[in-house]
């Protein structure tokens, strides 16, 4: 934590802080030394916090008007859209907010992958992040069921049926999940309860995620350890606060565009048809952010193996700090890894694309190749690359961009001015 002791100036502040050191915490957060070369890819942590808070606040308001009952859920959503004051705005923010949340989390994850932020000593931050990501997917799926449209109903049926792939107890587990012999009212009420619970679990994990981050401090684009505080760092406030704020505003403009001008583009039209257990939609497709995993699931011909492949695709990320054997963090100094990284990005985008397409013919073939490559990247390419790759020289500090280069005099001179 902070290197120096903090004492509040006022007597009351000191009295309180001795009993609960909230002011010390605030001081730590404000002074927190942050590498000064962080680029805009590092602003997504703040953006994600904003997304979580937005989802919780809008979700609370929606829960005040929503009725979790199979006969009334769809109608209550229409009630929110029509009769609740600005209900349409709240709901569109919540629905598009989920997509924006995932957009931001994918950028956040891929930033981590590029700059090696998951490597020692940040493994725990990374693993907490993967758990948050898993919970986000659960929350998003559960939330998508609540409007009780056709995609809600059939999506819930397909996903819960995945558990039936478990040998022996599978069928029993599915019945237990449903609270009956099909997706019905008991399923809806428990999904609502869990959808309400999970965001608060995420909130708790976010606190741990940030706490764990503040122990070693931020990674940075050149991926070296920086001395803190030093001429390589800036205090979090005001430097990072204003920069995160600027990035957040840019993000909000995109967000607002979706909410106000194309609020339904990211959803599926079938979800405006009330759930009907007797009519199956032509294509059952999950939301866009789950498509890559859906493609992996469908690319395996066996149901159980498909489910295992899909789960492994996510869980393999938790093992990443040990699968990547390279000591160098940032891809900037890893010419080969950099190329494999972009191939992986393309691979995931391709998986997302074929996930939206029917699982047949060429699409299925592409999905299989892309799935195989996904695992190949993590299980073969990364471990070998750490030993084989010739990395380029890494600078000693942020202010000395090249090994053995002369220190940047201008920065040294300016150092006094910001330490005041």
């Amino acid at each position: 934590m902070s290197d120096h002791e903090y004492t509040p100036k006022s007597k009351v502040g000191k009295w309180f802080n001795d009993r609960l050191p909230l002011l010390t915490l605030a001081n730590h957060l404000s002074d927190y030394p942050t590498p000064k070369n962080l680029n805009y890819w590092w602003t997504f942590g703040g953006i994600l916090t904003f997304c979580l808070i937005t989802q919780i606040v809008t979700g609370l308001v929606l829960a005040m008007h929503y009725i979790a009952h199979a006969d009334m859920a769809f109608q209550s959503v229409e009630h929110i859209m029509r009769d609740v004051n600005y209900g349409w705005l709240i709901r569109y923010i919540h629905a598009n907010g989920a997509s924006m949340f995932f957009l931001a989390v994918y950028i956040h994850i891929f930033r981590s992958l590029f700059y090696g932020s998951y490597k020692s000593p940040r493994e725990v931050i990374w693993i907490i992040g993967i758990i948050i990501y898993l919970l986000m997917m659960a929350a998003a799926f559960l939330g998508y069921v609540l409007p009780w449209g056709q995609m809600s109903f059939w999506g819930a049926t397909v996903i819960t049926n995945l558990f039936s792939a478990i040998p022996l107890v599978g069928e029993g587990i599915v019945t237990w999940l449903w609270g009956g012999y099909s997706v019905d009212n008991p399923t809806l009420t428990r999904f609502f309860t869990l959808h309400y619970l999970i965001p608060f679990l995420i909130l708790g994990l976010v606190v741990l995620h940030i706490w764990a981050l503040h122990v070693p401090g931020n990674n940075n684009p050149i991926g070296i350890d920086v001395k803190k505080p030093s001429k390589d760092t800036v205090p979090f406030h005001p430097y990072i606060v204003i920069k995160d704020g600027f990035a957040l505003l840019m993000f909000m403009i995109v967000f607002a565009f979706f909410v106000f001008y194309t609020p339904n583009i990211l959803g599926h039209a079938d979800n405006y048809i009330e759930a009907n257990p007797l009519v199956t939609p032509a294509h059952i497709v999950p939301e866009w952010y789950l498509l890559p995993f859906y493609a992996i699931l469908r690319s395996v011909p066996d149901k159980l193996l498909g489910v295992i492949a899909m789960l492994s695709a996510i869980l393999i990320l938790a093992a990443l700090p040990w699968l990547d054997t390279s000591k160098i963090r940032s891809a900037v100094f890893r010419p080969l890894y950099k190329q494999f990284y972009w191939i992986l990005v393309a691979d995931v985008l391709i998986l997302g694309y074929v996930g939206a397409m029917p699982a047949e013919g060429l699409y299925l073939l592409v999905a299989r190749i892309a799935t195989a490559y996904y695992f190949l990247h993590f299980l073969v390419v990364l471990p070998i690359l750490g030993f084989k790759e010739r990395t380029t020289p890494v600078p000693l500090s942020i202010t000395e961009p090249i090994l053995g280069g002369s220190p940047n005099l201008a920065v040294v001179k300016k150092k006094d001015s910001f330490e005041k």
């Binding site: 000064k36 957009l103 950028i107 704020g245 106000f260 609020p263 048809i273 985008l349 920065v411």
Partner: protein
């Protein structure tokens, strides 16, 4: 800043995929100018009123409109009938109410607060009267079809004789825009079918456009407010972003690092 272009590029890529997956089965729909499209789009008030007339005289005998109330016809951003007009419309329907003091259900003229009267008592009755097909509720129909207004506008005008080799069962019709081309609703519109009170010529095209506009409104009654508020919100955000950008530059100018 360069990075933000990269982010936008990624976003565009995602969107591209999304559009692609929606337009998987490409059909060329009939084109028309919708007044409500675009960031400044508004409903054409007269078209909404005419559309209501078409819905009332043609569609409503089979298709319900269960999430709409007569009071909605008066509200801002909709057809904006006068209160008197809407009261008269509501009163022209018989609504089942009760039970009264004697425990009897009774019929009374509709009020503004009533929901639109349903054409059938229940789904089974609707199916029985329509050869087994349930005429879908029309309130959110536009949003429930992937291609939205273009699809419905085209479908209403898409009836033609089946091509050679296609045999149709009794009570099934051929429509070139219907998914699967077979539809249980017969052609409903014909030139001069309704007598527009504002003197507009009731061609099939005109009626299809008016009723589709009306259905867009029933699906998105707050569309105009949304567009107006969106413009204000985005302008506000852009101004704030510019201000914050310059503050950021100012703050970061204290140290030798580009931001």
């Amino acid at each position: 800043m360069k990075n933000f272009f990269r982010i936008s590029f990624l976003l565009a890529l995602f969107l591209g995929f999304q559009f692609n997956s929606i337009a998987a089965e490409k059909v060329e729909y009939l084109k028309t100018d919708w007044s409500f499209k675009g960031p400044f789009g508004k409903f054409d008030r007269a078209a909404l009123q005419r559309g209501y007339q078409v819905y009332q005289e043609v569609c409503s005998s089979c298709h319900s409109m269960k999430y709409l109330s007569y009071r909605n016809l008066v509200e801002e951003g909709g057809p904006e009938f006068s209160v008197e007009q809407a009261k008269a419309i509501a009163a022209s329907f018989e609504v089942k109410d009760g039970p009264n003091a004697d425990g009897e259900m009774f019929m009374r003229p509709g009020r503004l607060s009533d929901k639109f009267v349903m054409p059938y008592d229940n789904e089974k009755a609707a199916q029985a009267a329509n050869g087994g097909a349930y005429p879908p509720d029309m309130t959110v129909l536009v949003k429930a079809r992937g291609d939205g207004v273009d699809y419905i506008y085209s479908l209403l005008q898409g009836y033609e004789d089946p091509p050679a080799g296609v045999t149709l069962d009794d009570g099934v019709y051929y429509n070139k825009y219907m998914y699967g081309n077979k539809i249980k609703m017969s052609n409903q519109l014909s030139d001069g079918l309704v007598d527009y009170s504002d003197g507009t010529n009731a061609s099939v095209e005109q009626m299809a456009k008016d009723v589709t506009t009306f259905l867009m409104w029933t699906a998105e009654p707050h569309l105009e407010t949304r567009h107006k508020m969106g413009f204000k919100a985005i302008v506000y955000l852009i101004i704030l972003t510019v201000l914050v950008y310059f503050s950021m530059k100012r703050i970061w100018s204290r140290i030798e690092t580009k931001v």
